[in-house]
């Protein structure tokens, strides 16, 4: 079918359906391979090569797609095979050798390699294949932002459109005013998923209130939080949900321009984002006169160098302007004077990824999921000492206990959970007896932890709290941008004290010294890096005081970890 330029939305949908039918209804199998960062780190490239070689060897005609992250990172490399009309059969921890066997059986003859299969979607009760959605890691999931992740080829805009993509944008541009679009987001109760949990619609209203001709929507995918990779995974797995969310945010607020902001070097997410922006512009879904309407929104991808603080909203604006990424004084706030001096709104990748579904299904639908003022879902990265590591999207209000022991399968090797480190390095630690807490912004905050960007790192009994705290402060020290001296020097000072305690040379006065440094950092820093930077120490002291005492008073590390070699790279920004 030839497409007129610019195509109408029904034409795009028809073309997308035609292409999707070709994949799922043609006469050949469709093989999907998880090839996001987590898949690659597990060896997806070698598996892809083995699949290609086996297809040639057996003379099998198959469509092979590199897809994003399904969330079951522990099972990567993950390969699934689907024959038209048949179930989608998943194979986990695939080696190149297994890939050859899967091709020789399932892809060549249509008979699933049942003994290798992890599970299936769309199977029958009697086919001997477990239902993938009954895996504990999948059973509690409600996938909104991750609805397409691992299912579609993120490099093909038609895959996104065939699965309902850009329908929300078409609906907003043809049936809704910008005010109505903003009201849907308001009714959803959506709150920012980057860490601050500020109501998204309130933020958008500040921007909508400005009549300036140039206004910016920024999508923050800096994501330097170690232990969190969900922003990169979304951009790599389903970039168009972010692009559509940004254009909708722009329409609702009357913004003219947008930037997707990513750290240089993360080539997978960068290339996916750049391709998605280009494809959306080519098909008239971003750029000038979107879908033939009067609304225009120019979008591009901006890169930063390595800098954790570049994820802070005002530092991010400085990085896009090409400067050192350092936070600015506020006021003026970004909604008045932001990027290039123009009114600016900044949202996290996850926040924007929800927007298309909220506009498509209505704010009330989203508000019906979750817990009290924490509506919707949480997109969690589960790492560390857990049976099943990966990325899940679960309704807000689930307990941490269910997350750790049910969704992630508990602690491996017969060990016990010691602590959870949540919300990134500025978050802090929670002791194992706090797992009855609900995943809810207010509940976690009241307990002294934060949800942050959704990273949950589990540590078992072998971990030393003092050593982990030192590692967290080493990170914070390394990443201080250096603008505010209480943060720049305070982090270094805290690290020296913690290293002393790790060497079992600490003194009882060191605890008061650290508290005093922490107070100064909180009072004298422009951004969260210094303001929250004492959290790892304060939370560790709160829950694990006796372990610090053992190091200081008894000169003994109960786990022995502090006797092992350690290092703390020093920042050049000191």
């Amino acid at each position: 079918m030839a497409i007129n330029h610019p195509p109408t939305f029904p034409e795009l949908q028809a073309e997308a359906q035609r292409r999707w039918q070709g994949l799922t209804g043609g006469g050949r199998p469709w093989i999907r391979v998880g090839a996001a960062l987590c898949g690659k780190a597990a060896g997806a490239d070698a598996v892809l090569e083995a699949i290609d070689a086996a297809l040639k060897q057996h003379g099998v005609d198959a469509q092979v797609s590199k897809v994003g992250c399904l969330g079951l990172c522990y099972a990567e490399p993950l390969v699934d095979v689907q024959w038209p009309g048949g179930p989608r059969v998943f194979y986990g921890n695939v080696t190149p050798q297994m890939a050859g066997e899967i091709v020789a059986t399932h892809a060549a003859s249509g008979t699933p390699a049942t003994h290798l299969a992890l599970g299936a979607l769309g199977g029958r009760d009697d086919d001997g294949l477990p239902d993938l959605n009954r895996l504990p890691m999948r059973a509690r999931e409600v996938r909104i932002a991750l609805r397409n992740a691992g299912n579609i080829d993120p490099g093909d805009i038609y895959h996104y459109i065939a699965n309902g993509g850009y329908g929300a944008l078409h609906k907003a541009l043809t049936q809704m005013t910008p005010e109505q679009t903003l009201e849907e987001v308001n009714a959803s109760g959506l709150r920012g998923r980057g860490g601050a949990a500020f109501p998204t619609a309130s933020k958008w209203k500040f921007l909508a209130g400005s009549k300036a001709p140039v206004k910016y929507i920024l999508c923050n995918c800096e994501e330097g939080d170690p232990g969190a990779f969900n922003d990169k995974a979304i951009l790599e797995s389903d970039p168009h949900t972010v692009v559509e969310g940004m254009v909708l945010a722009g329409y609702a607020t009357g913004a003219s321009n947008g930037y997707i902001f990513i750290r240089h070097g993360h080539e997978g997410p960068i290339r996916r984002a750049q391709d998605a922006v280009r494809q959306a512009q080519e098909l008239g879904l971003a750029g000038t006169n979107i879908l033939g309407s009067k609304y225009s929104f120019q979008l591009e991808v901006a890169l930063t160098g390595d800098s954790y603080v570049a994820g802070e909203e005002t530092a991010l604006m400085d990085a896009i302007e090409g400067k050192r990424s350092m936070p600015r004084f506020r006021p003026p706030f970004p909604a008045q004077v932001g990027l290039f001096g123009k009114p600016t709104n900044i949202n996290n990748v996850k926040t924007l990824a929800y927007v298309p579904e909220i506009v498509a299904k209505g704010g009330q639908w989203f508000a019906g999921i979750g817990h009290e003022k924490s509506t919707g879902t949480a997109i969690l990265c589960l790492t560390g000492a857990l049976q099943w590591t990966g990325m899940v999207e679960v309704p807000m209000g689930i307990t941490l206990k269910d997350v750790v022991y049910e969704v992630a399968g508990g602690i491996p090797n017969g060990k016990k959970l010691k602590l959870l480190q949540t919300g990134g390095p500025l978050g802090g630690v929670l002791s194992a007896d706090k797992v009855d807490l609900l995943l809810d912004f207010e509940v976690l905050r009241a307990a002294g932890a934060i949800m942050g960007s959704g990273g949950i790192i589990a540590a078992d009994e072998d971990a030393c709290v003092v050593d982990l705290t030192r590692a967290l402060i080493a990170f914070c020290q390394y990443e201080s941008c250096g603008k505010c001296f209480p943060c720049r020097m305070g982090m270094g000072h805290l690290l020296e004290v913690l290293e002393r305690i790790c060497r079992l040379e600490g003194s009882p006065e060191d605890l008061a010294l650290m508290r005093s440094i922490g107070e100064n950092m909180q009072a004298g820093s422009l951004c969260g890096h210094g303001q929250l930077g004492f959290n790892p120490v304060s939370s560790a002291l709160k829950f694990f005081g006796p372990e610090f005492d053992a190091h200081i008073k008894d000169h003994c590390c109960p786990t022995g970890r502090c006797q092992e070699p350690r290092f703390s790279p020093r920042s050049s920004r000191r």
Partner: protein, 168 residues
């Protein structure tokens, strides 16, 4: 005009994105050459109508920029909290020992550049390293050592500092 300066000028003049800044120009040079020579600081200053001081201020702030020509191979070792808990310390010690370096840096023969990284983005597979921009996860110290010594045996990697060479 010498070849190095020509490559720099082409890299800064052919940036695909509409917004061109000091930082984006430096990143374009790093993608092209794998480092920022002093000629690049001069050319970026001219191109962005900035000063050499201002360009140095940006270049020296971001630790991903290097100022010496790149080595044949580049290894990054993650020491973020998840990798730390999953054994990054013994892994890093093993790799340092294998290549004969006391800490991050270049080997004296210029064959290997070893860098610490705070997060390579694949925490579910911790501990993670990157060898010539290819991520490798779930590694024992021995496996990491083997991966690094193997890449050193393999000879020069032609893509490690080309424009397309920044993939993981």
């Amino acid at each position: 005009m010498d070849g190095l300066r020509q490559r720099i000028i082409e890299a800064v003049h052919h940036q695909p994105q509409p917004t061109v800044t000091v930082l984006s120009s430096l990143l374009a040079v790093e993608d092209e050459l794998g480092y920022i020579p002093k000629e690049a600081v001069e050319e970026v200053a001219t191109f962005t109508r900035s000063t050499i001081n201002d360009v140095w201020a940006v270049a020296s702030f971001y630790p991903n920029f290097r100022f010496l020509p790149p080595c044949e191979h580049r290894v990054e070792l993650c020491w973020g909290p998840t990798c730390h808990l999953k054994g990054a310390m013994p892994l890093i010690q093993a790799v340092l020992q294998a290549v004969g370096l006391p800490e991050e840096g270049d080997t004296p023969d210029g064959r290997l550049s070893l860098r610490y990284n705070t997060c390579l983005g694949a925490c579910a597979q911790a501990p993670v390293i990157s060898v010539d921009h290819h991520l490798m996860g779930r590694l024992s110290p021995q496996a990491a050592q083997d991966a690094v010594t193997q890449v050193l045996r393999s000879g020069a990697n032609g893509t490690s500092h080309s424009r397309s060479g920044h993939g993981h």
